[in-house]
Subunit: 211 residues, 2 copies
């Protein structure tokens, strides 16, 4: 089972590493980090780099596609080299998925037209501009297309997908393996209940350091 | 604020990327991925590589140390080049932390002697052999030393640490930013309630593919 995870400049890496740590346990999974060129792809602040081992040309018919988001996703959603590839491999996939603003890239590829979908809360309006119907669930499934909300939601999405593919017992064993028994110290992850001051604090960019 | 995250061959990358996505938002945080040599460090199955930008010699007095685990942690805990560095920088840190079997590396460096600590459930006995008192909480704080349970627990740990350093409102804004409102599809992440068959399934290695 070939699983392609897309990288681009300005990827938020938890968007991909969360699902990766779940999905690479699927029986016979061969996960390929894919980008326009092989090499290290950094997040927006430049402090973390993941290595893409394969080019877009190397991976043409993955069983599963995972598209992460991040600050660079808005640009990637308008990059024909990326969106043409997404549109093309989507024809072959069994599952096409996104995390966070990765949904914008699916949108740019025409995958979400007329579908319910979700993304990071900051990008709901942009998502709509791609013809999707923004939905405030954490994981939204429409046929073979699954979109997940911001960043950390990819773990929940990938466990749901693992159960679909390999059954609940495998999904539960993987959940046990990554000890995913979340105990966040605060109840502050839901946009719909966040006070305006907190949203403004996040949007202001708390740490402005870049490298 | 300098934050050092250790890499080694066979790191489980969610152990570090989870905390990273939280901690890199701390005001003036400068996060450095550190290893024996610069370059790409792969997880045990070889499918995911993170780039270490700094050598151990480059980073001698970080404010925060984060030590992830993984299949390679048992060996790293017995590698004097790594454990000597951990022991040395621990003298300078404000916070010394581990995720998953990263606790074994702290143990190998003598940091956990006589302290309550936690790790991935598979390594509780090994942890004890390093003089720690294994504890079944998800995040265990002993003075400036914080250990977290398996893999995904690093997100919870890092949010707790963010609140300690920058206050609850910053931690809540970061939690909102990564949309950490976990909704696991199953209640299967807690080792103490897992049936033996599920533990055996995980231990058997569901996907044996390596690259």
């Amino acid at each position: 089972m070939e699983i392609a995870i897309l990288l681009f400049d300005g990827t938020t890496h938890l968007d991909s590493v969360g699902p990766y740590e779940v999905l690479h346990n699927l029986p016979e999974a061969d996960v390929k980090f894919v980008a326009k060129k092989t090499g290290v792809y950094r997040d927006r602040c430049g402090m973390l780099g993941l290595h893409a081992d394969f080019t877009l040309n190397d991976v043409t018919a993955p069983d599963i596609l995972v598209v992460p988001g991040g600050g660079g996703a808005d640009g990637a959603a308008e990059d024909p080299e990326i969106t043409d590839w997404v549109a093309e491999v989507h024809k072959a996939t069994t599952w096409t998925t996104s995390v966070c603003t990765g949904a914008l890239i699916l949108g740019g590829a025409g995958v979400l037209n007329g579908l319910k979908a979700t993304t990071h809360w900051r990008a709901m309006e942009t998502l709509q501009s791609y013809g999707a119907e923004p939905t405030r669930e954490r994981v939204v499934q429409q046929g073979k297309v699954i979109t997940a909300a911001g960043v950390s939601s990819g773990i929940d999405m990938a466990l749901t997908l693992t159960a679909e593919i390999a059954g609940e017992e495998v999904a539960k064993a993987v959940q046990l393996g990554i000890e995913y028994d979340p105990q966040p110290p605060f109840d502050a992850g839901d946009y719909t209940t966040a006070p305006d001051e907190r949203i403004a604090l996040w949007r202001s960019g708390i740490n402005k350091t870049k490298r």
